[in-house]
């Protein structure tokens, strides 16, 4: 369960404060899939980044599985991400100096998993890259890189999978493949999935949608609890 209570974000731009996200309340039950949609600059990625603890909100509280992450330090956040959150980026962000297999190993090694090798291989197999493990990111196509990124995101079997425009850099065929993988995970493992997208079709596949414009929530659809969560 993810809960956002009055979460906002203001940054300084040219010496002036600029509010990217106005106070927002949101509750995402376990196992649900939510699509955050909206035009460029509406605050989608910022919202996702805040949920992952990649940035701190200017005001408000974010609670994941009962843990208030807004009060956590950098390292505690890193541990939380390692244990509970998987992240898929638009630009894949694989570590260039590591092979595909090693990229998948890293989160497990960080979490102190013993013998992570077999699981890494299984995950690569699941995303259809069993035979590409020894390749470096630069030797893989965009679609393949994104699938490695997905395998990496799933390495520690996270309760929450966040994806920032996961198909934004892929052709439709590769994009479709990644989408199927994402929703498959959501269904099979009951992993909560939050994705930011421009793609209406993709958004429509989610259980719920939130539409943002200029940092405000302008629309909520289906099965999303819009009321503030009971504290």
């Amino acid at each position: 369960m993810i809960e956002l209570h009055g979460v906002s974000k203001t940054v300084s731009s040219g010496g002036r404060p600029l509010t990217i996200l106005h106070p927002i309340d949101l509750r995402i039950p376990d196992g649900q899939s939510l699509a955050i949609v909206g035009p460029s600059g509406s605050g989608k990625s910022t919202l996702l980044g805040l949920m992952a603890g990649l940035d701190a909100p200017t005001s408000g509280r974010i609670v994941i599985d009962g843990i208030e992450i807004t009060s956590l330090g950098e390292d505690a956040l890193a541990r939380l991400r390692g244990a509970k959150i998987g992240f898929v980026f638009q630009f894949f962000h694989l570590i260039a100096s590591l092979t595909a297999y090693e990229n998948v190993l890293v989160p497990m090694e960080l979490a102190g998993v013993r013998h992570p090798g077999p699981r890494a291989k299984t995950l690569l197999d699941e995303v259809g890259l069993a035979d590409r493990g020894h390749h470096y990111p630069s030797q893989l196509s965009g679609g393949e890189q994104q699938r490695v990124a997905l395998a990496r995101a799933l390495a520690n079997d996270p309760r929450l999978l966040l994806a920032d425009e996961p198909t934004g850099n892929l052709d439709s065929q590769n994009g479709q493949h990644v989408i199927e993988l994402l929703f498959d995970v959501n269904r099979r493992r009951a992993t909560t999935l939050v994705l930011v997208t421009h793609d209406r079709d993709l958004a429509a596949m989610a259980d719920a949608q939130v539409r943002l414009r200029d940092g405000h929530v302008v629309e909520r659809r289906e099965a999303v609890a819009t009321a503030p969560a009971p504290v």
């Binding site: 940054v11 890193a78 541990r79 390692g82 100096s97 890293v106 960080l110």
Partner: protein
């Protein structure tokens, strides 16, 4: 921990090419420091191993004046108390020797030593033909001479040789003797005679330059107490006592100076390596920010990531240091064989202590220099992966951020810690807090200047953004863009230039101190120890010998400074003067009423008439080095007489022009007119060697106690010694230059990684290779010129400080070195900047853009 180690392995596998340069920087620095230190330690080791044979005794008590009976009685008492097993007296003086056979018209300056029966207590006098040395060989006017003297005077064993008023018989040929080392300066070949005969030669007249010594053999445990007791007894007198352990005492000055110089240069090379390390680490961390953000996003803590990169640095530094040991071995093998011959049988090899120190310094300096750039890792926030700008804003500035909130205090604290640690390492390496602090203070000062100059440059060139010429406009934009390489290059190159030009300038000054100029029109023959009653005779003799060159006879006295009362320096008694190094030595002084052609007044006024009130004019170097100025009072001991003189003026002496000789202290006439003194004469001898030999022979025949110093001969000897020193200094300078240039090249080349993306975008947008090359040349050329200027100007300060405060040699500015350094730096940075980017210019942009 396993994660950290695994990541270190993986990262090293992927980035070793980029870090290769890091590795090389460390290797070159460590190689230099280990090689230099090993040489010093080998020389030291060889000297210490034969220390007892160098002094030929356990304890040597010596003075430059005939023994004062009272002092002598005191010494004898001390020797008895210490249970001295043996005492042998010796006297050394430079004098003229000529064949007893009048038909041989030659004479030579020799270093005559009269020795008593016990000599030498340690070491051996080695004679030709394996003849064992005994004192009996000397008894009854026997002499042992060096083979070169036999050749020069055309003599054989058994022939007669005239020394002063006596004729000696040559009884053997000395191949080696204790305490005499090849390659060191001497006035002439050694002649050994009996101490008892020496006194009868008539050579030891008033004011003669001679060294009187007592060689003492004493039980080991009594050595140090005896030396201490004698030093306490004669604290205010000009009597020295040292043990064989302090045999270094005599050569310590030379060796310590060499060691300070070599260690400093070694350390400077390591600092240059450190700058390279800093530059590499900085670029490396920037390139890795995204990977670091990914790791943090996947659950790595800052400490874990920091550990991954710190461990890489340590591993690389350790490996680089080991390679450095290999470099040192090669360097030592390549050392010219003759370079160390003056120190006896020295075979320089890696010493354990030098190797350990080198590796320790390599790892330490790498850690210190990479720490600050590595701390950047803390700022790599995972948000960077979502959007670059947002991450920077939220991590660096707060909406209400005041300037002090924007400062990364951890990094500031780390920088301070690194500075303190560097002072520590520098002091350790140079074996002197003063040298270490000086080098580090200079380092920090130059870094600050460069920082300011960088900021100034950005402001000054800002208007050029409006220019219509694309390459210039973009070069300016590139220079002023935030997060660019302007500061890195300025700092790395500026500091590099500062140290390299500084070492070159230091080298020029050291070599200048060893340079001898022989002018065609100047005197080339100096006669010393002329007694007052011989003045007229010598004058006539010289006038006959060379009518067209009127000889100049100067009265000289030998004096020691025993006190100073001044505004900046106050020394009460000889004991305190001793603490000032070279100020305590014996000076030859004169008096006259005019400045010589090679002198120029710097401060005060020079007298033109005699006065009964003592006044002295001091040389500029003395004034600067010891902070003595016009109006101060100096106390001298002039042959036992205390004279207190006011400093009336400061003179600059052009030492290279020795026509009129050079004196550190010139007194006002009127005080010493009636004092006992000797004269020296500056004359010009005939050009042909045969005529010169004849002249010297005639001179000795007429005035047996007068010694002739043939400047042409001396110059040859000095050139031999100076040649070795020059070679050594030049080799060290060359090592520094090579290492420095290599490191600078790398530092500049590293900055190309920051340009890859930008160049690719420019190419995509239609920029030609030519335009991009022009842009690069302008930018790197400007940065190089600026860094070179700052480096060149500040390096003069470095060489001045080191000459004055550390090496104790006179300093003069070296504008040629500075100018050449500036031009070289600008060219080097410009050329390397462009050359390193050749592949950037050549590569297809798509590959780079995809990789990004």
């Amino acid at each position: 921990m396993t994660f950290v180690l695994r990541m270190v392995g993986r990262e090293a596998r992927a980035s070793w090419r980029r870090l290769l340069f890091f590795f090389l920087c460390v290797a070159v620095g460590v190689g230099a420091i280990v090689a230099l230190r090993s040489v010093i330690q080998s020389v030291r080791g060889a000297l210490v191993a034969e220390a007892r044979t160098l002094t030929a005794a356990d304890v040597v008590v010596s003075t430059n004046r005939p023994w004062d009976p009272q002092a002598r009685a005191r010494i004898d008492q001390r020797l008895r108390e210490a249970g001295a097993v043996g005492v042998a007296e010796t006297i050394e003086t430079a004098t003229m020797a000529r064949p007893a056979d009048e038909r041989k018209a030659v004479a030579r300056t020799v270093e005559l030593q009269g020795v008593e029966a016990g000599y030498p207590y340690y070491g051996r006098v080695e004679l030709e033909g394996g003849v064992p040395y005994t004192h009996d060989l000397l008894k009854g006017q026997g002499a042992l001479v060096r083979p070169e003297l036999l050749a020069q005077l055309d003599l054989r064993v058994g022939d007669g040789i005239v020394l002063g008023d006596l004729v000696f018989t040559i009884r053997g040929v000395v191949l080696s003797e204790p305490g005499r080392r090849l390659g060191f300066f001497s006035f002439g070949p050694r002649v050994l005679v009996d101490f008892a005969d020496m006194a009868r030669t008539g050579l030891l007249q008033f004011g003669s330059r001679a060294r009187y010594a007592l060689l003492v053999k004493v039980p080991d445990a009594r050595i140090d107490p005896l030396v201490q007791a004698l030093r306490d007894d004669f604290r205010q007198q000009f009597i020295n006592a040292h043990s064989y352990r302090g045999a270094e005492d005599r050569m310590n000055d030379d060796l310590a100076r060499a060691e300070n110089y070599l260690s400093l240069v070694g350390f400077i090379i390591v600092i240059l390596g450190g700058i390279g390390v800093w530059s590499v680490t900085r670029v490396f961390v920037r390139q890795k920010l995204r990977a670091i953000a990914v790791m943090k996003c996947l659950g790595a803590s800052t400490a874990q990531v920091l550990a991954v990169y710190l461990a890489q640095v340590v591993a690389l530094a350790a490996l680089g240091s080991l390679l450095g040991l290999g470099v040192a071995v090669l360097a030592l093998a390549a050392l010219p064989a003759g370079l160390l011959s003056g120190f006896g049988a020295v075979t320089p090899g890696l010493t354990w202590s030098a190797s350990l120190q080198g590796v320790a310094v390599g790892v330490l300096v790498s850690l210190l220099f990479s720490l600050v750039p590595l701390l950047e890792i803390r700022h790599a926030r995972p948000l960077l992966l979502l959007r670059d700008e947002a991450a920077r804003q939220s991590s660096v500035t707060q909406p209400d951020g005041r300037w002090w909130r924007r400062i990364d205090w951890v990094q500031v604290a780390a920088a301070l810690l690194v500075s303190v640690a560097l002072v520590g390492v520098a002091s350790w390496q140079a074996a002197s807090w003063r040298a270490g602090a000086l080098v580090c203070a200079a380092f920090v000062a130059v870094a600050l200047v460069l920082h300011l100059v960088g900021a100034l440059l950005v402001r000054v060139v800002a208007p050029l953004r409006m220019t219509g010429w694309f390459p210039l406009r973009h070069a300016v934009i590139s220079v002023s863009r935030p997060g660019n390489q302007t500061r890195t290059i300025l700092l790395a190159v500026g500091l590099g230039a500062f140290f390299i030009i500084g070492v070159r300038s230091l080298q020029a000054n050291l070599l200048h101190a060893f340079r001898i100029d022989l002018r065609r029109d100047g005197p080339d023959l100096f006669l010393v120890d002329i007694q007052p009653d011989q003045e007229a005779g010598v004058r006539q003799f010289l006038a006959r010998a060379h009518p067209s060159f009127p000889a100049k006879l100067l009265p000289v006295l030998r004096a020691r400074v025993t006190g100073v009362r001044g505004r900046t320096l106050n020394l009460d008694g000889f004991d305190e003067v001793r603490g000032q190094g070279s100020l305590a030595r014996e000076y030859v002084v004169t008096y006259r009423d005019h400045l010589e052609a090679n002198e120029r007044l710097v401060a005060g006024a020079f007298w033109d008439s005699p006065s009964p009130t003592p006044e002295v004019s001091i040389e500029k170097g003395i004034s600067q080095r010891f902070g003595i100025g016009v109006g101060d009072t100096m106390r001298f001991d002039v042959l036992g007489r205390a004279v207190e003189a006011r400093v009336a003026s400061v003179r600059q002496v052009e030492w290279a022009d020795a026509r009129s000789g050079g004196f550190m202290f010139v007194f006002r006439p009127g005080v010493f007119d009636a004092a006992p003194k000797t004269f020296i004469a500056a004359a010009r001898g005939p050009d042909s060697p045969a005529d010169r030999a004849r002249l010297q022979r005639d001179l000795v025949a007429a005035f047996p106690n007068v010694s002739a110093i043939d400047v042409r001969e001396v110059a040859r000897t000095v050139e031999g010694v100076a040649g070795n020193v020059t070679l050594a200094v030049s080799i060290v300078g060359l090592i520094a230059l090579f290492a420095g240039v290599l490191i600078l090249m790398g530092s500049v080349a590293m900055t190309k990684f920051q340009r890859l993306h930008e160049s690719a975008v420019f190419k995509t947008l239609g920029a030609s290779t030519r335009t991009l090359t022009a842009m690069l040349a302008i930018e790197y050329g400007a940065l190089g010129s600026l860094a070179g200027t700052v480096g060149a100007v500040t390096s003069l300060g470095l060489s001045w400080g080191l000459c004055r405060y550390v090496l104790d040699v006179p300093w003069s500015p070296t504008p040629g070195v500075a100018a050449a350094g500036l031009v070289m730096t600008a060219l080097l940075v410009g050329v390397i900047g462009v050359a390193a980017s050749v592949d950037v210019l050549r590569r297809r942009p798509l590959a780079i853009l995809r990789a990004e």
